[in-house]
């Protein structure tokens, strides 16, 4: 992992002398701000103990009640916030230096997701681990995730897009597994859903006191690495020449940052994006205060910034919605929204640098027409088999003769019913799979990025927010209203992503990065809506966060069918334009394609297809990513061929996932979206691995 690129401007900033007075002033200001926030934080809570009581307590006139609340609830919550903030802030700064990338963080590298999965698995198997071993488990989970993501993105040095994509894919896969555990072990993991977004509510000082030494150890270790990290910013080669063992420094930094993140997850669950936001806040001040980017200043200051982010989120949450809201709405949701905004802002500033995606034409080798027809026919047969199989499997296994009878209206009562209710589910899985695949193919062509998809661009999340908001406001909303709102939300979300990414032209990388930010924000909002309105309704959460065909009826399938009928011809008509768009910006212009118009029209169609699919079966990820890619690999790069093959593959994938979900744990059910994530995410990871830019 060597790098010959010229030192970034950042590297020069690192070499600036430290202005001690200004830096000291900054530390002073940060600490003063933290003290103020902490004071406010202590006055907020569900009990009647307020500022007055606490002041009296300071002067020795307080009540026992106030003292108890302070000691057993407010202080633990405050200290948890401080601990989590410092740990995530330092970890984020460390990871960003490690990856030489301001978009790296415990969230974007999957560390939090890995650590959280480990914690949930332990809880699910009913092992009541004390805090420290639980932290150890979280550490191993986080380490594995970080290792995978860093390996996939060549340590992050190949540019931010790959890093973010690898991180979000791994985080999505791990999130899918976590949800699966929650679903399978519902009783044992009760309450984990809200906790899964990160909450500071603490019952005692136990977790904090157990984890504080771990965090302290991590911070000291990070500090010891600071000088080497400074040198590392000059580039691997320079650092080697200067006598730094690059490899060892990286490994040690990874270990330390994962340790810090895991400690934070153990105390409060995954508090979102703090590790991303905190170092960014510090870097913002760097032009004013020279020397800020020296790691022995950057690391502790990022820690303080982390504390500020966490405390401010919690204070604002309680100030805006009352003390009770702090119990119901996890702090992590607030930080996630803030973090998503910062992610978007960072991505907007991002300049295209270096190759971040597979070179155009990957997998578009010579494929004959005969191959196309063989593949198409084979897939059509597979699709039929998948559809028939889907009708046969489930809690009750049937035989093909039953279907024949059912079709002829001769089946008995039980079979008729089973098939009547299974048919819309099978149909919705097939149609949504096809719709998502077509949308994915279109998005990939237009973005000229094989790693883009409606989910990653935030379209799916936007549609999900629209649909669930409608369901909450109007529980009896018709499917057309639901689809309509979802469609509007999807288009608006996508318009937002598109406009924000537009900076004198559309950079595909920027589009993807901003899409990831928007889709994180959408997930946070969906969680917020569920937690705030119907916290006991796990089924609602499951459908809208993982996608399910449960209880679908034919009318609910209608919008998807309609969308496919109307929009597929539109997209198919533009297949040659898509071929050209997938090449570069210039060729289509030269050939007279109205670039922006075609692009917008294609993306609009993709957004509508996605919205129809989302309102039918909820948020299902990875189909729009995996199907087009596999199609390209099978039949080459022409969209006349990719589109039908991808549609077939998508339909088969979702149908298979749905059949499995209905069968494996019967009579209990697994949402189809979870299984597509479990199938799709490893494929995506493999895809990233295959297309990783080799060390130069």
């Amino acid at each position: 992992m060597t790098q010959l690129t010229a030192p970034a401007p950042e590297a020069q900033a690192v070499r600036q002398p430290v202005r001690r007075i200004r830096v000291a002033g900054l530390f002073g200001a940060a600490i003063a701000l933290i003290v103020v926030l902490a004071a406010v934080h202590l006055t907020q809570g569900t009990s009647s103990v307020g500022a007055g009581d606490l002041v009296r307590l300071v002067f020795g006139q307080g009540t026992d009640n106030a003292a108890n609340v302070l000691v057993a609830s407010r202080l633990p919550r405050l200290l948890a916030g401080v601990l989590v903030g410092i740990a995530l802030g330092v970890a984020g700064a460390g990871l960003q230096s490690l990856a030489r990338n301001s978009l790296a963080s415990p969230d974007t590298l999957g560390v939090n997701a890995g650590a959280y999965l480990a914690v949930v698995v332990v809880a699910a198997f009913g092992v009541p681990l004390p805090v420290l071993p639980a932290g150890g488990v979280a550490f191993l989970g986080g380490l594995a995730a970080a290792g995978l993501v860093l390996a996939l993105s060549a340590g992050g040095s190949t540019g931010p897009t790959r890093l973010i994509l690898a991180g979000s894919a791994v985080a999505m896969a791990l999130g899918g597994l976590t949800t699966l555990m929650l679903l399978l072990f519902r009783e044992e993991t009760v309450g984990t859903f809200a906790w899964g977004a990160g909450t500071l509510v603490q019952t005692d000082l136990h977790a904090v006191t157990q984890m504080a030494p771990v965090v302290a150890l991590g911070i000291v270790a990070a500090f010891l690495l600071a000088a080497k990290l400074d040198i590392l910013t000059l580039g691997d080669d320079t650092a080697s020449v200067l006598g730094v063992n690059v490899r060892r420094t990286r490994v040690l930094t990874t270990l330390v940052t994962v340790l810090l993140s895991a400690a934070a997850v153990t105390v409060a669950g995954p508090v979102g994006f703090v590790g991303l936001v905190a170092p960014v806040l510090v870097r913002l001040l760097a032009p004013v205060v020279p020397g800020l980017l020296r790691h022995h200043v950057l690391l502790p200051l990022s820690g303080l910034a982390g504390v500020l982010v966490v405390l401010a989120s919690d204070v604002v949450l309680r100030a805006a919605f009352g003390g009770q809201a702090g119990v119901e709405i996890p702090t992590g949701i607030m930080t996630m929204v803030v973090g998503a905004v910062v992610l978007i802002w960072l991505a907007r500033r991002h300049r295209d640098s270096g190759p971040s995606r597979a070179p155009a034409g990957t997998g578009s080798g010579l494929r004959t027409r005969r191959t196309f027809w063989i593949v198409t026919i084979a897939l059509a047969v597979l699709l039929t088999a998948a559809a028939v199989g889907a009708m046969l499997t489930g809690d009750a296994f049937l035989r093909t003769g039953d279907i024949v009878n059912w079709v002829n209206g001769q089946s008995g009562r039980a079979i008729t019913y089973v098939l009547d209710q299974r048919f819309p589910r099978v149909l919705s899985a097939l149609l949504c799979g096809a719709a998502l695949a077509i949308a994915g193919t279109t998005v990939q062509a237009v973005c000229r990025n094989p790693l883009a998809e409606p989910g990653i661009l935030g379209i799916t999340g936007g549609a999900g927010v629209g649909a669930i908001a409608t369901l909450i406001l109007l529980p009896s909303a018709s499917i057309w209203l639901l689809s309509g709102v979802a469609a509007v939300a999807a288009v608006v979300t996508f318009g937002l992503v598109y406009l924000i990414s537009w900076r004198g032209g559309l950079s595909s990388d920027r589009l993807v990065l901003i899409g990831v930010g928007v889709s994180s924000a959408a997930t946070a909002i969906i969680t917020l809506l569920i937690v705030a309105t119907d916290p006991w309704n796990l089924s609602l959460a499951m459908t809208w966060l993982s996608g399910s065909t449960y209880g679908r009826t034919l009318p609910q399938v209608a919008p998807v069918a309609l969308a496919l009928l109307v929009l597929t011809p539109v997209i198919a008509h533009g297949r040659r334009d898509l071929d050209l768009l997938a090449l570069d910006d210039d060729v289509p212009r030269i050939l007279g394609v109205r670039l922006e118009r075609t692009r917008l029209l294609a993306l609009l169609a993709a957004a509508l297809l996605t919205a129809a699919a989302v309102s039918a079966i909820g948020v299902v990820g990875f189909v729009g990513l995996v199907a087009p890619h596999a199609a390209r690999a099978l039949v080459g790069g022409r969209h006349a061929r990719i589109l039908p093959v991808a549609a077939l593959l998508g339909a088969i994938l979702v149908s298979l996932a749905d059949s499995l979900g209905r069968t494996v744990l019967a009579p209990a059910q697994i949402p189809a979206g979870l299984l597509t994530a479990l199938i799709g995410a490893p494929y995506f990871v493999y895809l990233l691995w295959r297309t990783r830019v080799p060390a130069r």
Binding site: G45, T46, S47, S48, N65, V69, V71, A72, S73, V119, E187, E188, T189, V190, G191, T192, W195, V201, Q202, T203, D204, H206, A207, A268, G269, Q324, G326, V327, T371, I374, I377, A378, V381, T384, A385, V388, G389, D395, R399, T400, G401, V404, G412, A414, I415, V418, D420, Q421, R422, S476, S539, M542, Y550, G551, T553, Q556, A666, P667, A668, Q669
Partner: protein
């Protein structure tokens, strides 16, 4: 490539030709023609007509299942039978009762395989799912609970279920027994000089190092029962509009006055937060009712959202706790 494709096609065709049927084709329906038809209106204001009182009933919510058993009808299927066994001890299910999946997403395949005369579910179920179930069997939808009148709602539900299975006499008896039980309990509390004294009813769970407490308001069944027993609910905050449940954290408990703190835990499912995790906690230790030793863990398996039998169990336990 080509060979693979051919092999796949062949395999798929082979799968398709493995024909056969699982049941004989439809013929006339057999029914117990002798019985009286039943007609009733459920919580959706929907009229339900049955040719005869339902005998084979599938129940998707535990409270309704308990009521059904207490009326002398064993359901053929219940959602999450394992959970029922852990949480509802008032009426036991026969081992023959089939598990039809989770309470949130019951398996329609499993339900229809039982060929029920009636499916009972609550208004918590999504309208779509109910529509779909109705294709298989008549569906009686009851309102899970109503925080405006939880006890009446429980009785209404019992009556609806009783009508559907032709057991209205038994329902009258159960209701009368229940009313008697409330009156006796009230008397015993008055005799012990505890009338008008305070109570709190809660359950709770722990995740990570966060403990969440669920408080039962007067709109909850157990809160309303305690009030009817002559006690006064110390939790004055609002709950949800159906089940009358409020959520708080540990420090929220400091708002509570003195009184009897009753709680339900389950050793098979979640353990005992109040008796275990909070033992050394400064807020908990100094709450007035904890200091006074007025914390009572009610016996495991009293279902908080059950029918008259569970309610009776609760009355016994609450009276015992308050007067001891």
């Amino acid at each position: 490539m080509r060979r693979t494709a051919i092999a796949l096609v062949a395999a798929a065709l082979f799968g398709l030709t493995a024909c056969g049927t699982s049941e004989p084709t439809a013929s006339g329906n057999t029914s117990n023609a002798a019985a009286q038809p039943v007609s009733l209106t459920d919580a959706r204001n929907k009229k339900i007509d049955l040719k005869a009182p339902a005998a084979k009933v599938v129940v998707l919510e535990w409270g309704a299942a308990e009521s059904l058993v207490s009326l002398g009808v064993m359901p053929v299927g219940v959602a999450d039978t394992k959970g029922y066994t852990n949480w509802v001890t008032a009426e036991k299910l026969d081992p023959s009762v089939k598990d039809v999946g989770t309470r949130g997403e019951a398996s329609v395949d499993a339900i229809v395989a039982l060929n029920p005369d009636l499916v009972i579910t609550t208004t918590d179920e999504a309208a779509n799912n109910i529509t779909q179930l109705e294709k298989a069997a008549p569906v009686l939808v009851i309102r899970g609970s109503d925080a405006a009148k939880p006890i009446e709602q429980m009785k209404t539900n019992l009556d609806l279920i009783a009508q559907a299975v032709g057991k209205t006499e038994q329902a009258k008896q159960l209701t009368a027994d229940f009313d008697k039980k409330v009156a006796e309990g009230k008397q015993r509390i008055a005799d012990a000089g505890k009338a008008g004294s305070g109570f709190m009813m809660a359950d709770g769970w722990k995740q990570g190092s966060t403990i969440t407490v669920r408080m039962f308001t007067n709109g909850s069944l157990l809160g309303a029962l305690s009030t009817d027993l002559g006690l006064k609910n110390g939790w004055t905050g609002a709950g949800d509009k159906d089940y009358g449940l409020a959520q708080t954290d540990l420090e929220g408990l400091t708002k509570l006055p003195d009184g009897e703190f009753l709680y339900i835990a389950n050793k098979n499912d979640g353990g005992d937060v109040f008796g275990g995790d909070l033992a050394g906690n400064a807020i908990w230790k100094n709450l007035p009712f904890v200091k006074a030793g007025n914390v009572h863990r009610l016996p495991d398996g009293i279902w908080m959202f059950g029918g008259p039998k569970s309610a009776g169990q609760f009355i016994d336990a609450a009276v015992q706790a308050v007067t001891s």
